[in-house]
C-alpha cells in the first residue's frame, strides 16, 4: 500500500489535540467512517482529493479543505489545510443547509491555520489507528 499523505492535528493553547478530543466524543459509527476516510484519502494522489470525498473550499473559507462524510444524518466536515503532502486538521464542523456549524468554523479554521504556520508546535502528528 502506498501512503502518500500524512496527517497532523491542531493543538490548542493548553496543548490539547482538538481533533482527538472531537473524535473521542463521537459515536462509534462516526468514528468508523472517519477512520475509513483517513485511510482512503492518504493513498490518493492530490488530484483525487476532490468532491465528493473531499473538497477544497473557496471564498471566505479559501485556504481550507473539508473531509466530507455523513453519519447518522449528520454531515461531518473536518476542516484542515495542506502543507506539501501533509493535511493538518484544525477544526471539526458539521454542515446544515449549506452552512457550517459552528457558523464561524472557517474563521476559526483559518486563524488556527495561521497559528500552526507561525509555530509548528501548534500541531502534532495524528494518533488515529489507521493500520
Amino acid at each position: 500500500m502506498a501512503v502518500i499523505w500524512s496527517y497532523r492535528c491542531y493543538l490548542d493553547h493548553s496543548g490539547e489535540n482538538v481533533i482527538r478530543k472531537w473524535f473521542d466524543k463521537q459515536p462509534r459509527a462516526v468514528q468508523g467512517k472517519f477512520i475509513s476516510r483517513l485511510q482512503t484519502l492518504r493513498q490518493l494522489e492530490p488530484e483525487l482529493w476532490v468532491p465528493k470525498p473531499f473538497r477544497w473550499l473557496r471564498h471566505e473559507c479559501a485556504g481550507l479543505g473539508e473531509i466530507r462524510f455523513e453519519a447518522g444524518n449528520v454531515q461531518h466536515r473536518p476542516l484542515g489545510f495542506r502543507s506539501d503532502l501533509t493535511f493538518i486538521m484544525v477544526i471539526c464542523a458539521i454542515e446544515k443547509s449549506n452552512k457550517f456549524e459552528p457558523a464561524n468554523a472557517c474563521e476559526v479554521g483559518l486563524r488556527r491555520k495561521g497559528e500552526v504556520q507561525a509555530d509548528a508546535k501548534r500541531s502534532c502528528p495524528h494518533d488515529f489507528i489507521l493500520d
Binding site: Q31, G32, K33
Partner: protein, 169 residues
Amino acid sequence: MRNEVVPMTSFWTKEFIDQLSDREFRHAYMTDQVRTHIALAIRVLREQEERQWSQTELGKRCDKPQSWISKLEDPEYGKVSLQTLFDIAEAFDLPLLVQFPEWGDWLRRMKNQSRNDLEKDGFDADSLNRFATTSVGSQNRKRVEKTDFSGTAGGASNDNKQIKLAIAL
C-alpha cells in the same frame, strides 16, 4: 476445521483489530470503505489513460445522463444497485465480483485503493490467451476419458464425476 486466510505479511496491527472489535464501528467502517471504493473506482477507471472519458462519455455508454455518473462517484450516494454495477462493468468491459468474504480476506483486499490499484484493463483475449492452457487441457481430457471409473452401479459415482471435472479443468 475451516480454512483461514493467513496474510503473507502483516496488513494491520492489534490496535486496529481492537478498534474493529466494536460492531457499530466495524460496520460503519466497512460500509464506508466499500462505498468509497466504488465511487473512486468508477472515477479512476473513467479517467484511466486508455479511456480518458468524461462523466458525459461514460453516461452515453451506459445510456444514462452525466448527473447519474456524478451520483455514482459520490461515496455518500447510497442507492447503487447491482444492475447499476453491471451497467458500469459492461461500459468498462470489466467483470464484476461481489462476494461475502471473511474479515481477514476483506481487510487484505481493501487495503490498497490508490489510483494504480484501481486502474483495470478491459477484456483482452490476447492477454488472456498468454495464460491459457488449451493443449494441456485437451491432453488431460483425453486422459480422463480413458480412465476406468468402474465400481459403481449405474455408472460413475459423484466422487468420480468430481475427479473428472477437476482434472478436465
